[in-house]
Amino acid sequence: MSTRSNAYWKANLRLIALCLTLWGAVSYGCGILFVEQLNHFSLGGYKLGFWFAQQGAMYAFVALIFFYNWRVTKLDQRYRAERDTRDGA
């Protein structure tokens, strides 16, 4: 694997790690592990922990996939641009 490919893959893995950390935090963290603590706060008529478990986690999942796609598309573009300049030189 070339260094360019390696750098692309490492960057992609870092991005995935970040997104999956947030993915776990909103669902397993806010929705299950800390639900009782968060239930002391409220969001309108929802207890906060309950809201994360039945609403918030799902909104966060959608946002995370769009965020990941946006960032990884940037990575793809940079990778292609670097490849083209090097091949052209």
């Binding site: 490919s5 993915w23 929705g31 008529g45 929802y46 478990a53 990941y68 598309t73």
Partner: protein
Amino acid sequence: MSLQDLTAVVVGFTFVVYIGIAFWARANSTSEFYIAGKHVPPVANGMATAADWMSAASFISMAGLIAFLGYEGSMYLMGWTGGYVLLAMLLAPYLRKFGKFTVPEFIGERYDSDLARFVAALCLIFISFTYVAGQMRGVGIVFSRFLEVKIEVGLAVGMCIVFIYAVLGGMKGITYTQVAQYCVLIFAYTVPAVFISMQLTGNPVPQLALGSTMADGSGYLLLKLDQVLMDLGFNAYTHPFNDSSMINMLAITFALMAGTAGLPHVIVRFFTVPRVEDARRSAAWALVFIALLYTVAPAVGGLARLNLIATVNGPDGTGTAYETMPNWFRTWENSGLIAWHDHNHDGKIQHAAGRAFAGGKPVFDRDARGESGRRLVTNPGPGDVAEGAPFANEVYVDRDIMVLANPEIAGLPDWVIALIAAGGIAAALSTAAGLLLVISVAVSHDILKSTFAKNLSDRQELTAGRIAAAVSIAIAGYLGSNPPAFVAQVVAFAFGLAASSLFPVILLGIFSTRMNKWGAVAGMLTGLIFTMGYIIYFKGVFIAPMAENVPANWFLGISPEGIGTVGMVLNLTVALTVSQFTAPPPAKIRALVERIRLPEA
């Protein structure tokens, strides 16, 4: 027009649309039959994926589960949506880059092993048949309840429709029919939810209504629901960990997520788009379309529970006389999904905590009728008043009717009820078609072509695929009308097996260049045997259960529904260990893995 005629017209109209689409999108080659020729735009694919994924269980059963579980229902909500994050980041783009037709094909090539491909194909067929039997049953229930025909007749009609568009159109026909089915099912699900949200809170957006104040000025809806339930001796709706421990919830949620990401009929949808970026984009759109229904479901569940209690116990909370109950009570009683036994002989129906019938479910005394036409049961419980309840519980309400009966309970117009029937059928048919397709492709492409008849021409393979689809539909129909006693048990199987076998093996195939066939096969077998063994041990599929299915007997307090999580960890551990002590995969495999990781054309 009567409700029944109206329902027939609405359902009939949707069928005409599905068949019209099937003729328009016929498949002419194996590529079109298997993966729609890779021409599906990502938003349309997202919509088709959503319809494919949301089954009769999502549409008919989930809100009912939430209504009765309260907070713990969240494990289905998060579990069945969170898997798409895994799909979008860990699987879909790389499998699309691999660029072939099926999941077993990827496993076979990545691990350079026809045996691995064959085992994966068998897993896939088993998982998919488990699922499809439930879908056909769902179609039958909707038909028999709303059109008052025999379940068998409903099944036969459903089978014909699926036959026409799956056998003719293959993946291409199914994809565009699923787009139409998504529109039908989301409309059918949201319209009654909006009506009921308006009635109870004055806020038309269900996601907000659940967190709003009651329209009658009695404060926040969820607080009221908690209070009403506690007054009847139930646990509070929003209170966590009543029926399920924290560790069990974590395990079930994870097993559902990993299982979702490993389900072959979902993965294969990402093979149908033109480019790798489109696979990621369609995963994102799929989740948007799924979340539209899944964020409404908790509102449907909570509001339905409140409505049900208010209707049954009446405005003064002392019960409603059987004669004055609205019509839906009797129609569902006729179909056996609602039952009543007048424990205190006051002629009124009362609902509270506790079991109305010995063993939980009612056993009807055939068609015997008592006073004012009530159905008689042979197993009334002792009629004890549960702790904290004001009176004994006298009603059994099957969870599966909460969505279907919801519009009737809320007194909504007939066309909304007809819509629900069409939506339930759309959800079941779209999932059934997707599953039948992956079964037929596994048979014709992964088993027939790769093992038994290697020089099959494209035409012959297409014919074999169509025959396999037709045979699978016949088997599915048979399973739907004669459900084996264990159908309900094996649902845990589908997700457990996908999570503990297919998901880790695909994941390692992409993210580890060192993983070889010995590691993969050893891991798959460990995950599979452990998970199957655990489920059979407690649930007894084919044989009697060997231990009582209670938390005290469970490993680490994890129920059979969540054991796929442990199976997955075992799979990964064994696979990584074995691969360290055996030869690394050949150079061509490492080149393959490096190729699918990079965004090059």
